[in-house]
Amino acid sequence: HLQESLPGDWSAELVLVGRQQDKAAFSKLFAHFAPRIKSTMLRYGLKNELAEEVAQETFVLVWRKASQFDPEKAMASTWIFTLARNKKIDLLRKQGRPEADVNDPAFEQEAEQTPDQILTTLQRAKAIKAAMEKLPEQQRIVLQKSYFADETQSEIAASLKAPLGTVKSRLRLALEKLRTILDADLGEGSI
């Protein structure tokens, strides 16, 4: 099912790791993502060793969990990003982050979608990538930087106590713009 792919999509490699324990494919994924995950963590304000630990531990999980990756449901980059994000939370917080669980009896399942409402993962990914490229540069930067990235260390320390009080209107504007572009490309209410 992977005849078509996006440039920079790593689903084929991740599937090879999951199905065949392919170490060469694993090395390629590591070479691309691990240094970039580390950079992101450094920008979140993590110390060098901790940033490296997040990147390393993320890839321990990539190896162990690769067979659970389903290219129909997620892009490889998104799947790896969520592992890195959760690893960062594990290492920084004494309590993990609450998450909705699809197997929870109280979980509200999605309504049945009509065939033309169903977009493939690849179609959505393409639209999101295109929408990001259409964003004005200033707004793209807001989304690319971590929330605290442009603040000094002491401001980070202060704002961590009440991060929501400092939610930037710039972030909201960037997301509104992104939503407008995606709605135009994919149809109203598609995100």
């Binding site: 170490k23 694993f26 090395s27 590591f30 070479a31 993502f33 691990a34 240094p35 970039r36 580390k38 950079s39 992101t40 940033a51 490296e52 990147a55 390393q56 890839f59 321990v60 690769a66 067979s67 659970q68 998104t78 790896i80 990003f81 969520t82 982050r97 609450p98 909705a100 669980d101 197997n103 929870d104 009896p105 109280a106 979980f107 509200e108 399942q109 959505r124 990914a125 999101i128 990001m132 989304l143 690319q144 971590s146 929330y147 605290f148 961590l160 106590k161 009440a162 991060p163 929501l164 009080g165 939610v167 972030l171 909201r172 997301l175 509104e176 992104l178 939503r179 995606l182 995100i191």
Partner: protein, 215 residues
């Protein structure tokens, strides 16, 4: 269930990035359990954040792929087959809340007077997550905010001004102007309220309560 009040995009993006503290995340995860529409938006934001990785510069790593393989060992988890959803039990609280305090029937409430009860679930760095029980038709004291308040309805509903909030809906208040939620008639309203600063009450009496109940 028809949800009309959703999580704002900025909060959802910060949740996707893993930037929010436990209390905020608890309210958001509870909403996400009940709201397919916000879950779809969350997926989009996770993809945007993953897309950002590609733009990231390349840091020097002191370990390579082989080192990581040595650490990971030969352990690979088998492909997970999702267990069938067990619907024999009807929970009121979605799992993120149940993990913390059990279901609605398990709560040991503290009475605050005026038909209102509370249970503090979590406190960290001034962010307090509490369950509120408002008897049918009872009203909370009018108050303003120093910070932000997220109120996720899990049972029943309330009116605030000309707006109605029912199971699934989340109210996000980040302004100073006072408001006063009033529970709908019929069944009690149970909601998860998360705040990062003490509320500002207009009346004298609630200010006395404030110290006692840390609201």
């Amino acid at each position: 269930m028809k949800i009309t009040h959703h999580i704002t995009d900025d909060l959802l993006y910060l949740y996707a990035a893993g930037d929010l503290k436990f209390g905020w995340s608890l309210a958001i995860a509870t909403h996400l359990s009940l709201c397919p529409s916000c879950r779809a938006t969350l997926k989009t934001y996770e993809q945007v954040l993953a897309e950002n990785l590609a733009q990231e510069h390349v840091s020097e790593m002191s370990v390579n792929a082989d080192d990581v393989l040595a650490i990971a060992g030969s352990q690979m988890e088998p492909c997970e087959i999702a267990p069938p959803v067990q619907a024999e039990k009807n929970f009121v609280f979605p799992k993120p809340l149940r993990d913390l305090c059990g279901d609605l029937g398990d709560i040991k409430w503290s009475t605050m007077g005026g038909g209102i009860k509370q249970k503090i679930l979590h406190e960290e760095d001034g962010i307090v997550a509490r369950l509120l029980y408002i008897s049918p038709g009872a009203s909370a004291s009018a108050h303003g905010h120093n910070g932000i308040e997220l109120t996720q309805v899990v049972s029943g509903g309330f009116f605030d001004g000309d707006q109605a909030f029912e199971r699934g809906d989340i109210q996000i208040v980040a302004h100073d102007s006072p408001h006063q939620p009033i529970a709908m008639n019929g069944e009690a309203c149970v909601c998860l309220a998360v705040t990062d600063a003490p509320l500002k009450f207009r009346n004298f009496l609630p200010r006395l309560f404030q110290r006692a109940f840390r609201i």
